[in-house]
Point group: C2
């Protein structure tokens, strides 16, 4: 199964591990926080740094591409005429480092301890970008070429929801033309459980406002004759689901497919202990649609979640008012084949229908939804990725979903209509978005080897 030159490639990447760690430290030292305007220059510096690194790796094109927001670091090697073309996606912007005082070692000075490297962005996503750069470089240094044409896009706004990415893709459609997209911004199911992600949930958003009296009222004088907006809101929200955790909004589940027996069996076989998970999260027990498996609920069932709610008095003690308004922010995670627009309309209509008398209710439906994405497991690129991962980690990967949403993955799906391979190697406990973000070196180095195999596997599979 190994390509004839693989031994030399693997020898090369193993011999250069220390260099890769040093390169990761150098990149992490640039605090490319996209959420904070005063780090704008750092995000640009990070893009320029990535471009330099790709040029040094031997990519023949390497340049900063502008977007309406932060720049993209772009690289390409197109020296395999007749061979397929892949586009590798990652992002070079990172989360803020708050709360700073909880970091054991400084977030921008990445340090290795106990087989892990700690720092902001080590795994999300600079380290995973570097896996590809290292693997591409290995091919180009050892063989002087790649088995496949490669384009690389490292985005600079993923951590703020990729607001400029879809327009960028549309504008750069020709430059980015390819056969398949390879995304490395996900995690495996668990340590020693190599995994390929084949479905992501989408996202739609609402804000409900319940309007009561023009101003807050004295709850003594008016208590008993004025509908309390907080009570109305609670009644609306409580009417969204039945006692089994199922959303009762008509049409909400339209298009949602049931898992096949094979998929259900695969999920049931994954190591998942609800009691242990509940304990880790600090809740007495897991909850949700109680007729279904937890992992099915997390990956393959849509949610309707209240993300925030407020109204009336929030200070110490009591203020005896009937407040003039109440608000709730809601989101749904969508699964494949749900129509985001239909879901948005269905919930908005239902909320108005169940709204109690005595108040006025507004439902704001936000723009900018991300549909769910499902990659076909039977696509040859996915099979190729599975083989590469087995070679890189010594075990065939399982296929998993993720309950989250990766905006760019939705955009590739929607704008370029491309098959995608989601091949990330983070671990669930990597503390991305939190203090002490880390990347297990076993995963980092295994990831580099996986990518080293991946280009050959894709070249054969897509031929």
């Amino acid at each position: 199964m190994l390509a004839p030159h693989a031994d030399a490639l693997i020898e090369h990447v193993r011999a250069n591990r220390d260099r890769y760690l040093g390169e990761l430290k150098t990149w992490v030292a640039i605090p490319s926080i996209s959420a904070q305007p005063d780090h704008r220059a750092d995000v640009r510096r990070s893009a320029e740094h990535a471009v330099e690194r790709m040029r040094a790796a031997g990519l023949t094109e390497a340049l900063v591409l502008e977007t309406d927001g932060n720049p993209v670091a772009y690289g390409a090697w197109l020296g395999a005429p007749g061979a397929p073309t892949i586009l590798i996606y990652g992002h070079h912007d990172v989360q803020p480092d708050d709360p700073k005082e909880l970091w054991t070692s400084p977030p921008w000075d990445a340090q290795v301890r106990d087989g892990k490297i700690y720092g902001r962005g080590v795994v999300d996503d600079k380290g995973q970008c570097l896996m590809h750069v290292a693997a591409l470089e290995a091919h180009l240094r050892v063989n002087g070429k790649l088995p496949i044409n490669v384009k690389v896009v490292f985005e600079g706004e993923e951590e703020i929801g990729s607001p400029s990415f879809e327009a960028f893709l549309a504008r750069e459609k020709e430059r980015l033309a390819c056969d398949v997209v390879v995304v490395s911004d996900t995690a495996v199911f668990a340590e020693d459980v190599p995994s390929l992600t084949t479905s992501l949930r989408g996202l739609v958003r609402w804000e409900i406002t319940v309007h009561g009296p023009t101003s807050d009222l004295h709850s003594g004088y008016y208590g008993g004759v004025v509908k309390n907006p907080l009570e109305a809101l609670a009644q609306i929200l409580a009417s969204l689901k039945d006692a089994h955790g199922r959303v009762v909004v008509p049409g909400f589940y339209d298009g949602v497919r049931e898992l096949s027996p094979r998929e259900r069996a695969e999920i049931a076989a994954l190591p998942f202990d609800p009691a242990k998970e509940a304990h880790a999260l600090g809740v007495p027990e897991l909850a949700g649609e109680n007729a279904r498996l937890p992992l099915e609920r997390m990956w393959f069932r849509p949610t309707l979640e209240i993300n925030g709610m407020y109204g009336g008095y929030q200070g110490q003690g009591t203020k005896t008012i009937i407040p003039s308004f109440a608000k709730a922010k809601l989101t749904s995670r969508l699964v494949p084949h749900q129509d985001p627009d239909a879901v948005k309309r269905a919930v908005a209509t239902y909320v108005q229908r169940v709204a109690p008398k005595g108040v006025r209710v507004d439902v704001e439906v936000f723009e900018g939804d991300a549909p769910a994405v499902e990659t076909s497991r039977d696509h040859p690129a996915v099979a190729a990725a599975a083989r590469a991962m087995e070679l890189g980690f010594g075990k065939p990967p399982v296929f998993i979903g993720t309950g989250g949403t990766i905006g760019p993955v939705s955009s590739f799906d929607r704008v370029l209509h491309l098959p995608q391979v989601l091949i990330g190697v983070g671990l669930p406990d990597d503390a991305i978005h939190a203090p002490n973000e880390k990347f297990d070196l076993h995963q980092f180095f295994g990831g580099i080897e996986t990518m080293t195999y991946l280009y050959d596997e894709l070249a054969s599979a897509l031929k």
Copy 2:
């Protein structure tokens, strides 16, 4: 019905109206805001001013009495041996003047326009205190004596919930001994509808906290398996009442008495237009226990009201979290014969019983409840007050309730076990606690004449 000397008294108070207005302006100019610590000295100055004014009126005792908080202005005339003793209650502290920019004339420079005097505290409660001082002074100047023994207590913490008053009453029990308490801190039902308040609702308070995961969770990764605390809170709150607005907590209505046919007929006869009221409040229609009259719901039915609620994200846009907790602040307005402790326990027990799985729920039950107060309409003091009001305003008063709670009235009831007469003459649109607080001069002067008659009527009735 008029005492023989009444003509001279009325002549006196009519001749001195301009002086009374000037005195009210002087007192209003002292910004005795009890809620704001930097006005502490002003509250004391206001008490001292009231003491001076009572001394000038001819009361033989006049002094500042200390409490654990702001001082009480105390006055007394006890020169009628064998006659009954009344205690007049009012308060000399006022609400803050925010929002300042909405006042047409300055809050601390009271001005007369269109037959009304505008300023902070003109009716709540300095003007109503002054009605008594003017009436007492008239008796003492015209007749050299009062027909009854009088003690006056003007409190300095009513607007912050009278935190020191109950301890003050207990400590000064002997000094304050009397036969009946006269409270002038209420309003009549409407212009041209003189009224005596014979019931007030009480107040108990809770705070519900729903604890979910230890920290906010990513709603993509965990949506579907973790009970959302906001959803749990909404479900708990929505389960408190049935579709008819009736509280379903077992035991909640224990002790609540049904109105007599006479009481119900009286309420039905009062001018109250639900559509007009709804329009004025800015709501599409009134709500509440729909089987009962609105005024019955406002005065004689207990409430269970959500005063504040919060959890999760409240900023712009969306934050895709399952929040770690959710909170709600609740109060009940109680009616006579409800046991505050039993109600507090019943709600706390019920909330725990209906709490969904997957979360932990804490119910904090606050101390310091005010029971409801009901004064017997058949008490001779109430009949005496009704006669005085008829003489002062030319019409017999109606008997009304108030949905609000006056802490000191509860305290007099609970600590001194005294009958009380609630004889206030404000109007419902006086904007107490709001900008442009006003006191109609017709009510102010009618109130002075009412009090001038009141002492004689009480002297006869309580003999």
